[in-house]
Subunit: 392 residues, 2 copies
């Protein structure tokens, strides 16, 4: 087995650069080491999900402490352990100040790891990792652009699979299949344990106005109270809109793209709101690095209020408090485009912008695109046609 096979082929330089960036941040914060345990962090620091821990020091050393899978025993920086109590024996020196990620680590695991390093002062690395991960390297941007292309290819086949008389759930099942045949991995990663979604949200007609517990832009009653979001069995009838917002994860990273469809003619109000969403998308794409994230939210609200559409903006019965969000490995990364956000857009950040409307009696309308932040604009990487397409 190749000595570097633990790091997937082609990822070696990227992983080296990530480790160096983390080490620099640790050094700047006077932290000796960072111990990462969650799947997303393990993937970020190695290029693969494994069972175990990544340990990174301020000096730039990295140790992959692996419980499973077997097979990488000879690889550089890989150390097999049965339990975390075996980590200290692998270290040249014990950390005096150790960082963990408290935003996603369960209490029981935190307590156990703290006991593994009883002499260490334990600090939180959540904000540091969130900021680091929000800026995507050229390597990551390539993966995200690949997602955009494949996401678009799947969406462009949606009109071909529609059959009159379908319910929202039936249409969703065929969209899931299109995405999967295009190579979508299916899994939809959300940071934190409180948000859940199966592959995507397809909203038809009145169901778009059903409030959800989850912190997504749109709602839907879902098929069961155990997963109360999205398609609910609503018939796709003339005069209704169909909003498709489905998983763009083709390689571990994901794009976010929403497109809308209609059956027959829908109300002028719905058509106007959809056009407004496209205009907001285009307007916000003129901002670039250095813009406060909340300025994008404020600009969207201003355009919506000037058009007299505030009642329907970001929901009707229940409203979402943002117009966009960072994304990458997870759907909810930094920055957040919201009124109280303190984030400032940085070059290389990736954001989804989703100015959406719920029109009572008609359904949800609007588009969502994923953009890479450039110095003077946002580069759109989800390029399916934006107009509302009629399904026949």
């Amino acid at each position: 087995m190749n000595n570097n096979a633990f790091i997937p082929s082609g990822w070696e330089n990227e992983i080296q650069a990530r480790v160096a960036r983390i080490a620099a941040q640790l050094k700047a914060a006077d932290i000796d080491a960072l111990l990462l345990a969650d799947n997303v962090s393990l993937y970020y620091t190695s290029g693969r999900v494994f069972a175990g821990y990544t340990y990174i020091t301020a000096l730039g050393e990295v140790l992959y402490c692996v419980r499973r899978p077997v097979g990488y025993e000879q690889c550089a920086n890989v150390h097999y352990i049965r339990k975390p109590e075996m980590i200290p024996a692998l270290l040249k020196s014990q950390p005096k100040k150790l960082a963990l990620k408290t935003d996603v680590m369960p209490v029981a695991e935190y307590n156990r790891l703290s006991q593994v390093f009883p002499e260490a002062e334990v600090v939180d690395a959540s904000a540091m990792m969130r900021a680091l991960r929000s800026v995507k390297s050229p390597f990551e941007q390539v993966l995200l652009k690949e997602d955009g292309v494949r996401h678009q290819a799947a969406y462009e086949r949606i009109p071909s699979i529609y059959k009159p008389g379908m319910t929202d759930v039936q249409l969703q099942i065929e969209i899931e299949r299109l995405l999967r045949l295009e190579g979508c991995l299916g899994i939809f990663r959300v940071q934190g344990p409180s948000m859940e979604l199966f592959m995507g949200n397809i909203l038809v007609g009145e169901n778009a106005d059903s409030p959800t517990p989850y912190d997504f832009a749109m709602g839907g009653a879902g098929m069961d109270p155990s997963l109360p979001v999205g398609a609910s069995g609503e018939a796709i009838a003339p005069g209704k809109t169909i909003m498709v917002d489905a998983c763009g994860n083709f390689n571990g990273y994901m794009t976010d793209m929403t497109r809308c469809y209609r059956v027959g003619e829908v109300s002028d109000l719905a058509m106007k709101a959809h056009e407004l969403s496209i205009s907001v998308n285009h307007r916000l794409a003129q901002f670039g690095a250095g813009t406060p994230a909340k300025a994008l939210y404020e600009e969207a609200v201003k355009m919506v209020e000037e058009a007299g559409m505030a009642d329907y903006f970001m929901g009707h019965m229940q409203k979402a408090g943002f117009v966009g969000h960072g994304l990458g490995i997870e759907i909810n990364e930094a920055p957040v485009l919201a009124p109280r956000s303190r984030d400032i857009l940085e070059e290389g950040q990736v954001v989804a912008i989703e100015p959406k409307f719920v029109i009572p009696g008609v359904g949800a309308v609007g588009v969502e695109n994923t953009f890479i932040v450039r110095h003077d604009h946002l580069e759109r990487i989800t390029n399916a046609a934006e107009e509302m397409i009629e399904l026949k």
Copy 2:
């Protein structure tokens, strides 16, 4: 709106009984109250996933402290809050001893909730809730039996969707569609943040011997290092087996069922191992309540060793250390059928038994069934035919 609409129709008595059982346990442990925050616990105590908290006292009072969704303002026991700091003002008396679930609660949330109740001694309710949830009520057993019927109906259509020349991924996509058309919710809930699976695991040929980082019975390389489990694009060729282990969640609860298929003739060794798996399933089903969970594991190992098949049992390159597991809302509930398990089977517990084998060059074989523990046997609720079916 109906005054009880927060509790889904038909769930009222069940939820009342669950709250009473939890209250009795709190009282017995001299704990004043339990604050639950994770989606699974919220669903267990209300019949629906919502954003917020369930607060249960030792006196049997329940408060649903809801952030989202809107719409239940008039319902019994429902109190809208914007943040957890608003909970104490809703209480008649403040808890002196408060239980939280540390097995799944992130550290940051735990610290915040501890601050909300600065006078309270905070204790862990993880083991208590795990034990309580492991025993399924007649109401829950009905849901699980419904899963079994629908799970079987979807699996019985698998031979009809097979086409020669398919890869494992292509077959998996069509199986996903069958399950979804049968009403499967798709989402596959696993306790804890470290295990991930998209809807199911379909293993063909050599790929069954690829070790995975996850703590599932079987492996597979997956399509990408960001989700290294399951189907990998392996061609379905003559002489190979196809193991199908896919999501049985049709109503918030889930059954677990594995069936195997073959293309053409497979080796005698593979056929023998598959028959042995069926025999182990049948033999273990003769145990009932009161049996130590580890005795089932030991009996399985004994049968496997007597047949000279230990090399292939529960994996080949990498082995899983159990032969079965409890399940219900999540795929990994108590009890665990493993050599060091201290669990004793109780009436009403639900377990999946999955004695599986990986035969090098051929693939994975074996069956998995879900059983309800009765006083003198295990009642099988996944009743698809167990023999290895030829796909043509």
